[in-house]
Structure formats: structure tokens, C-alpha cells
Symmetry: C3
Subunit: 215 residues, 3 copies
């Protein structure tokens, strides 16, 4: 059904590398909080950096997945995680650094994931789903491997920001804005929303249960 | 090795849509128990509804998976989850509704998963495995995303019912019963077994450990 | 990009069967510790035995995965898990048996996973990643399904042993050692390292957090 997606170049490719590096740092920071050894840093960093795109490629039928075709992505994660291992003692607040790295990676992947899916020829609704999954799955893997409760439950506008970024990018592409500008627009919207949510503790109104709920 | 599975029509297709909708409701009900926002309802509902068939398609090599080829499945889950969000305050017992929705979805997917695998040309044993996985994986995803202990451990005859439904369907197909009747037969067996297990607390005899076990 | 991997024969195929059987036993032993019924033994045993190779095949784009092409692998896991169910009361220490079965499976899969990836034509770095993933993913599935904390966190030189086995095998292949000898060499290194780690409690030096870390 779909053709093969060539190695992405230009702005999407560059943003993709940035997103992978940033997520690899977030994974390594989580390894630090769990006092792992340097192999643990590399393992969690690599899984976090490559996880989202791996799921996207599998679901789109683009296997072998991108880092099997281009091992430089693995090298990038390993190097970044190793550097983080040695830099981490000089970071004042690991948790805050993790949250912000994660926010930047989430915003980057929300637009690159959507763009790659569009390039593969899927319907707009599917492309947005792929953007959201690419953006959130790395963090899910990181949380599962580190034995933490999932990001999806408590965090402020986490999925919402990914959805906003993916939708904005798609909308801009649909009204014929050039791809690079659309990528930038979606990224700014996602990061702005997630940043505001982190800084001011914004959440969507949750379902209000009744007493005796959950029974 | 396998040809492409065309969009399924007729009874299998219809039962598939029903199973997806019912699992999406069960996911949304679990989101309600966890007091998520409406996006959380949609996310858990969609992941629960589409998860089983996604794993099946990936393992069978039918990527891009079915909801990438046919986005209507995503729309169905989103709409059903959103409706559940607004209807949920009027449901008396969320937990009981969840258990029964899950039982219906489990029974439907145990036969449709088996049938789709048979259509793809796999061996009978593989088809039964696919039926059981399609039936149970959505619930596993739901439990993981909602941070609950897995369905597999404690629940009464959960995997057993899926296995019984898949085996019955396969057996009926092998003795040349028409597909539609075989689907119905397997569904009735699975739902009957799971219903009886829920109502009367049936379980298979568990392995009896000795004192000091687990050491 | 890659050709189809034919059913593996010779030493790799044999070691693969051994690894699957050994992991299936480890899964069944974990089911025993969780007092599951015989179906639970079969389910956990099969998922543990087949999980690592399934992930490897999916990522390499070798779908349908190997046990869909060759159902004998499923039968092997089911039979081994059922036998374990009846033998388990005669095993003195289930936990120790589980740890050692897991160590043997880890060592076997670290070399067979690497070899299969090399046969599929991937780059050396990717092949080592595939070896490590094939070796560790079955244990991850087992732990998740049994609701235990992940193997990766606490266990002694777990990922390290898999990495050492995969790297040794790759290194020997690269210097033109015959495949069978390379497989044996990697296996001995992995098992030796993991055994020493189990017996003497070896660990890599962990990152030393500061007071107030994790904040």
C-alpha cells in the first residue's frame, strides 16, 4: 500500500535527530534517578530515544525500522546517554531537567511523527495518531523500564500538547503552508502548551466521580 | 508467504466492529474509574479497542495494520469513548459494566481473531493463538495504561474463555460448519463460559504451592 | 532491503530451540511462584519462550514472525510448560531454578539473536542490539505478566552478560572464526559472566547520587 520512506533529510530529519537526542537525555536522567550503572543509562536512553519512532514504523509497515536501516541513530543515543552519565553530577535538579527535556522531545516528535506518516501516504486522522504515538511512546517505555507510574495519568496536558502539535502541523499542511513552517508552527504550539501546563499546573477538567465510584 | 487480507465484510466484519466498540467502552469506563479527562477516555478507549487486532496484524505480517488502512476504526473508538464520557454519570456500577463489556469483547475477538488468522492462511494452532491474543491484548493494554494489576492473574477463566471460543470456532470450521455458524458457536461458548465464571466465581484448579514456596 | 531468513538449521537452530525451551521453563516456574493454573503456566511459558525472537523478527521486518511460519515452536513451549507444571512439586528451590534457567536462556539468545540478525544482513551495531534484545525481552515479558519488578533494575550484570555474549560472538565472526565456534565462544562468555555475577553478587559501579537526588 505504501512506498518506502527514504531517509528523511532537511528540516524533518534534523528535528528528528534533535528529538531523539533530547529523549535519550531524558531517559539517561531517569536512569540517574534510579542509580543505574552506565549500561543502564545507555539502555534506557536508547529505548526512550528510539521507542516512539519504532512503534510508528511498525504500525505503518515500514519495517525494518529506521534505526535498523540507519545505525547512526543508535550511536547518537549511546553517545548522548554516556555524556549524560558524566555530566549528571553537575546538574542541579535532575527532575526539572528531565521534565523539560521530555517536553522538548514531545513537541519535536509530535510534528515529525505526523510528517513522516503523511509522507507514507496515510489519512489525516491516522497521521495525527502517529504523531501523538511517536511523541508519547518513548516516555511510556522510559517509565515502564524505570518502574514508575505512567506519564499519561498525572502529567499536565501531556497527551493534549502532543495532539495540539500534531493537529496544528496537519492543519497548516492542509492549507498549503510550506512543510518547514508547518513543522515550526506545530512545534511552537505543542511546546508552548506543555510549558504553560508545567509552569502553571494546567489540566483538563477531569471526570468528576461520585462517592462510591469505582465500586 | 501470506496474501493481503482484504477489508473483512459480512459477519466477521460486523462482529469485529462490535468487539472494537465494546472494548472501547470498557477502556473508557476504566478511564472513568481513574478520573481522567475526556482525552484520557478517548486515548484508553482507542488503545483498548484497537490493541488486540494491532498485535495480530503485526505478528501476521499484515502491516500497515488495519486501522491505518481503514481510519473508520479510529473514529468509531473516539466517538464511542466520547459518548461514554457523557453517559458514565448515569451508570450505576461502572465496575460491573466494565466487566461485562470486557466479557462481550473478549468473546467476539476470540472468534474474529481466529477467523482472520485462518483467512491469512496460518496453521490451526497459530490461528487459535491469534484468537486468544486478539481477545486478551486489548485488556492487557487497558490495565497497563490504567496502572492496574493485569487481567491475567486473578480473573476467572479469562484466558480459558478466549481459548474455548477460539478452539470451538476452529473445530467447527474444520468439520465444515459454515463460517457464520462457527463464529456464532465459538462466541456463545466463550461468553457462556466467561459469564458463568463471573457469576459463580469459577476458576481452574491453581497450582498448590508448598509452605516456603517462592523462596 | 533484506531477504527472507530461511528456517535456521544446524547449530543456530538447535541452540535456538534450547533457548526457547529453557525460557519456557523459566516462565512456567514464575507461574508456579504466582500459583497460576496450568493454562497460566502455558501462557507465561509460551510468552517468555517466544517473546524475544518475536520482537527481533518484527524490528527486522521478518513478519510473519518465526512461530507463525513454524508452529512447532509453540508446541515446544506448550509441552515444556505442561511438563514443568507436573514436575514443579519435586523442585526444591523454584527461585534458584528460575534464575539459572533464565541465565542459560539469556546466554543462548544473546548469540543466536546476533547471528540471525547478521544473517538478515544488518550492520554489526544493529546485530548486537538485536542479540541483547532477543536475550532480555522474554524475561521482561515474563516479569510484566507476573507483575514483578523488572529484571533490568536490580539483577546482577543481566544486560551486561547479554551484551558481552553478543559482542564476543560478533567479534569472533568478524575475525573469521567459524560460526559454530563463535556461537560457542559468545555463549561461554555470557554464561560465565552471568554465573559469576549470580554467585558472587557482582554489579557494575552504579551512579552515585547525592543527597537530595531525585528531587
Amino acid at each position: 500500500m505504501f512506498g518506502f520512506v527514504p531517509e528523511l533529510s532537511g528540516v524533518v530529519g534534523l528535528l528528528g535527530y534533535c528529538g531523539i537526542a533530547v529523549f535519550a537525555v531524558s531517559g539517561a536522567l531517569d536512569a540517574a534517578r534510579n542509580r543505574m550503572d552506565i549500561l543502564g543509562f545507555m539502555l534506557i536512553g536508547t529505548a526512550t530515544g528510539l521507542g516512539g519512532g519504532t512503534l510508528r514504523d511498525l504500525l505503518l509497515g515500514l519495517a525494518p525500522v529506521y534505526w535498523v536501516r540507519e545505525p547512526a541513530y543508535i550511536t547518537l543515543c549511546l553517545v548522548v546517554a554516556a555524556i549524560t552519565y558524566f555530566v549528571v553530577p553537575f546538574i542541579d535538579s535532575r527532575k526539572r531537567a528531565l521534565v523539560w527535556m521530555d517536553a522538548i522531545g514531545l513537541s519535536l516528535f509530535s510534528v515529525t511523527g505526523t510528517q513522516i506518516a503523511l509522507t507514507a501516504g496515510v489519512a489525516p486522522l491516522v497521521a495525527v495518531c502517529m504523531g501523538v504515538m511517536t511523541a508519547t511512546f518513548g516516555g511510556i517505555i522510559r517509565d515502564v523500564l524505570c518502574g514508575e507510574s505512567l506519564v499519561l495519568g498525572g502529567r499536565e496536558l501531556y497527551v493534549t500538547a502532543a495532539l495540539a502539535g500534531a493537529s496544528t502541523h496537519l492543519g497548516l499542511v492542509l492549507i498549503s503552508v510550506p512543510d518547514d513552517l508547518a513543522l515550526l508552527g506545530g512545534f511552537v504550539v505543542a511546546l508552548g502548551l506543555r510549558s504553560a501546563a508545567i509552569l502553571f499546573g494546567l489540566k483538563l477538567p477531569a471526570y468528576q466521580g461520585r462517592s462510591g465510584d469505582g465500586q
